[in-house]
C-alpha cells in the first residue's frame, strides 16, 4: 500500500517514472533517471526503524547487490528514528543497524552509486544506519534530521528543556534540522529548487569511497576540528 505522501514524493523525484511497493513502512522498487534504471529502497511514512524493518530493508538491498551489479541505488528516508521499544533492544537492534551499515558500505564498495534523499524525519541511529552511509545526501524541503527529541536530550544531559531550546537557537552543533546538518557537512544538497534535477545530478557523480564530510563541515564553519584532528593522527611520524 503506497501512501499519498510516498506517491507524491515519487512523482516529484522521478518524472521519468517509478514503481515501488511499501510493506510496513519499508519501500523497495525501481525508477528511471536520465534514461538509466535505478533501484529504490528506503524507510518511509515516518516508520521507526526496528528489527523487522531492518530485515526487510536488508533483504531488498541484498537482492539488488546480488542481481543488479553496479545499479545505482536511491535511499528514501522518512523515519522517526530507531524503534525505541524493549522488544527491539532485547533482540539486539544495535546489531541490526550495524548490519545495515555493512550492507550499504558493501554496496558502495561494489560500485553502486548510493544517494540518499531525506524526505521527512530522520532521527538518530536510523540516520546513521541509512542516509549517512550514502555517498551523497539530499535534504528536501520537509527534511528534519536530528539526533534525539529534546525530551530525551534533557533526560540524558540533565539540562532543562528551556535552556536547551535557547542554546539550540544559536548553536548549529546542537540545533535539530537540515540547516544544522548542512553546516556539519552531513548534507550535500540542501532544499534543491528542483529535487528531480538535483537527484539526477547526484546520480551522475562517480562512486565515492573517501569520506568528504569533515572537510565539507569545516568549509561551512560547522565543525572546525574534525578534519584537522583525524588528519593529524594519520600524519604522525
Amino acid at each position: 500500500m503506497i501512501s499519498e505522501k510516498v506517491a507524491a514524493l515519487l512523482e516529484r523525484l522521478f518524472p521519468e517514472g517509478a514503481h515501488a511497493e511499501v510493506e510496513a513502512g519499508v519501500l523497495s522498487g525501481g525508477a528511471t533517471v536520465g534514461g538509466e534504471t535505478v533501484a529504490l529502497a528506503g524507510v518511509v511514512d515516518g516508520t521507526a526503524l526496528g528489527v523487522n524493518e531492518v530485515v526487510r530493508l536488508s533483504r531488498a538491498l541484498l537482492e539488488v547487490l546480488e542481481r543488479q551489479p553496479k545499479r545505482p541505488i536511491v535511499l528514501l528516508i522518512d523515519t522517526r528514528g530507531q524503534r525505541m521499544e524493549l522488544r527491539d533492544e532485547l533482540l539486539g537492534l544495535n546489531q541490526y543497524l550495524a548490519h545495515l551499515c555493512r550492507v550499504l558500505e558493501m554496496a558502495r564498495q561494489r560500485e553502486h552509486r548510493l544517494v540518499a534523499v531525506v524526505a521527512g524525519e530522520a532521527l538518530g541511529g536510523a540516520l546513521i544506519a541509512t542516509g549517512l552511509m550514502a555517498q551523497e545526501v539530499i535534504a528536501l524541503e520537509e527534511a528534519n534530521p536530528m539526533v534525539m527529541p529534546m525530551a530525551g536530550i534533557a533526560a540524558v544531559t540533565k539540562c532543562c528543556t528551556t535552556m536547551l531550546e535557547e542554546l539550540s537557537a544559536r548553536n548549529p552543533v546542537f540545533t535539530p534540522g537540515a540547516d544544522a546538518f548542512y553546516r556539519m557537512g552531513g548534507i550535500d544538497r540542501l532544499r534543491p529548487a528542483d529535487p528531480a534535477a538535483a537527484l539526477a545530478e547526484a546520480l551522475n557523480e562517480p562512486v565515492r569511497l573517501a569520506d568528504h564530510r569533515a572537510a565539507q563541515g569545516e568549509g561551512r564553519g560547522g565543525r572546525t576540528k574534525a578534519r584537522n584532528v583525524a588528519e593529524r593522527v594519520v600524519a604522525l611520524p
Binding site: L86, L90, L93, C101, V147, M148, G186, A230
Partner: protein, 304 residues
C-alpha cells in the same frame, strides 16, 4: 614478577582508560598519540559551562600485544560517559584511517561509551558516521578491528552500532550493549515501555550474557586484564585463520540469521523466555552463573 601478576588481575569495569590500556598491552609498550599535553579539547562544551578534558575522553596510540604491533583507542567513561563528540570521534577516525594505511596487526577499541555526546549532538552524530566508514575501510584493507566492551557505560547509542561493526566483539558479563538506553526509552515512550529502574530487567535485556547467547558478542570474558588479552589474541587468530566475514555471501548469511532471530524470538517479550526457547535449562539461574559455566551450558545446548 609480582607487578605483572597484579596487572593481570586488573578489572576493566571501573578502571580508567589509561589503566585499561596499560594493563592490556605488553608492559611499557604504549605510546600515546595527541595526548593531554596537546590539549585537544571540545570547542562546544564551554557553551554548556561544562569542563573540558585535555584528551576529550579518549586515549589513542600504539603498543604491542604479545609482541605484535596494535593500535588502540580507549574511551574514558569518567568524562561525560565516554561520549563521542567532535574531537573524541575524530581521534578514533584518525586511528582507523592510519591503520588502513600502515597495517598494524589490529586495531583494538576499548569501549566505554554511552553514545553521541548530546551537548554536541550533530557533530557527535557525524563523528559516529565517520568512524563507521573509517572502520569498514580499515577492515577492507585487511586490518581487523576488535571491540572490547569493558567499561561501566558499555557500548550504547552510536557506540552500540559501532561495536557491532567490528570484526569481533569481546565483552564481560557486566557490560551493556544496545541502541536506546532504558532511561531514554522510558523518557520518550513512558515507563510502561521500559522500566529503567528494574535493574534485573535492564540487565537481562541489554547485558553481556544475553548478547553473548545470541551470538552478538563473540566472546564473553571474566573481567580480568589477563582474560581480555587472551580473548583478543584468540580472536585475532580466529580472524587470521577463519573464513572472510566481510563478503556479499557473508552479509546474506548474516541477514538471514537476523531474520531467523526475529522469527524465533520476536514474540518472546523477555530474555527469560528467549533463553528457555534456546533450550537452556533453568533460565532463571543464568543471571547468577559464572562466565565459564554459562559458556559451557551454551555450548552443550548448541546455542553457541
Amino acid at each position: 614478577m609480582k607487578g605483572s601478576t597484579m596487572k593481570e588481575g586488573i578489572r576493566f569495569y571501573h578502571a580508567t582508560a589509561r589503566r585499561r590500556v596499560a594493563a592490556f598491552l605488553d608492559e611499557g609498550t604504549f605510546t600515546e598519540w595527541l595526548g593531554p599535553q596537546q590539549r585537544l579539547t571540545s570547542p562546544h562544551l564551554p557553551e554548556f559551562d561544562l569542563p573540558v578534558s585535555f584528551d576529550d575522553g579518549v586515549v589513542i596510540g600504539c603498543g604491542r600485544l604479545a609482541g605484535r604491533e596494535v593500535y588502540v583507542a580507549a574511551q574514558e567513561g569518567g568524562f561525560l560517559g565516554g561520549s563521542i563528540g567532535e574531537v573524541h570521534g575524530a581521534k578514533i577516525t584518525g586511528v582507523l584511517r592510519r591503520a588502513a594505511e600502515r597495517r598494524p596487526a589490529a586495531v583494538v577499541w576499548l569501549f566505554d561509551c554511552g553514545g553521541v555526546r548530546l551537548q554536541e549532538a550533530n557533530a557527535g552524530e557525524m563523528a559516529v558516521s565517520e568512524a563507521i566508514r573509517a572502520l569498514m575501510a580499515c577492515r577492507s584493507a585487511g586490518v581487523p578491528v576488535l571491540a572490547l566492551v569493558a567499561g561501566a557505560n558499555g557500548a550504547f547509542g552510536g557506540a552500540g552500532i559501532l561495536s557491532l561493526c567490528c570484526d569481533r566483539v569481546i565483552a564481560s558479563e557486566s557490560v551493556r550493549l544496545g541502541v536506546s538506553g532504558p532511561e531514554v526509552i522510558e523518557t520518550v515512550m513512558g515507563a510502561e515501555a521500559f522500566d529503567s529502574r528494574d535493574r534485573a530487567l535492564v540487565w537481562r535485556t541489554v547485558g553481556g550474557k544475553n548478547r553473548y547467547l545470541y551470538g552478538e558478542v563473540d566472546t564473553l570474558v571474566e573481567d580480568r586484564a589477563a582474560h581480555w588479552r587472551e580473548a583478543a589474541l584468540a580472536a585475532l587468530k580466529a580472524i587470521e585463520t577463519g573464513p572472510l566475514r566481510w563478503s556479499l555471501e557473508g552479509l546474506r548469511a548474516e541477514s538471514e540469521a537476523l531474520a531467523r532471530r526475529v522469527e524465533q524470538y520476536g514474540d518472546a517479550g523477555d530474555a527469560l523466555e528467549i533463553w528457555k526457547r534456546m533450550g537452556l535449562e533453568n533460565p532463571e539461574a543464568i543471571p547468577l552463573m559464572e562466565v565459564p559455566e554459562l559458556v559451557a551450558a551454551a555450548k552443550a545446548k548448541g546455542v553457541r
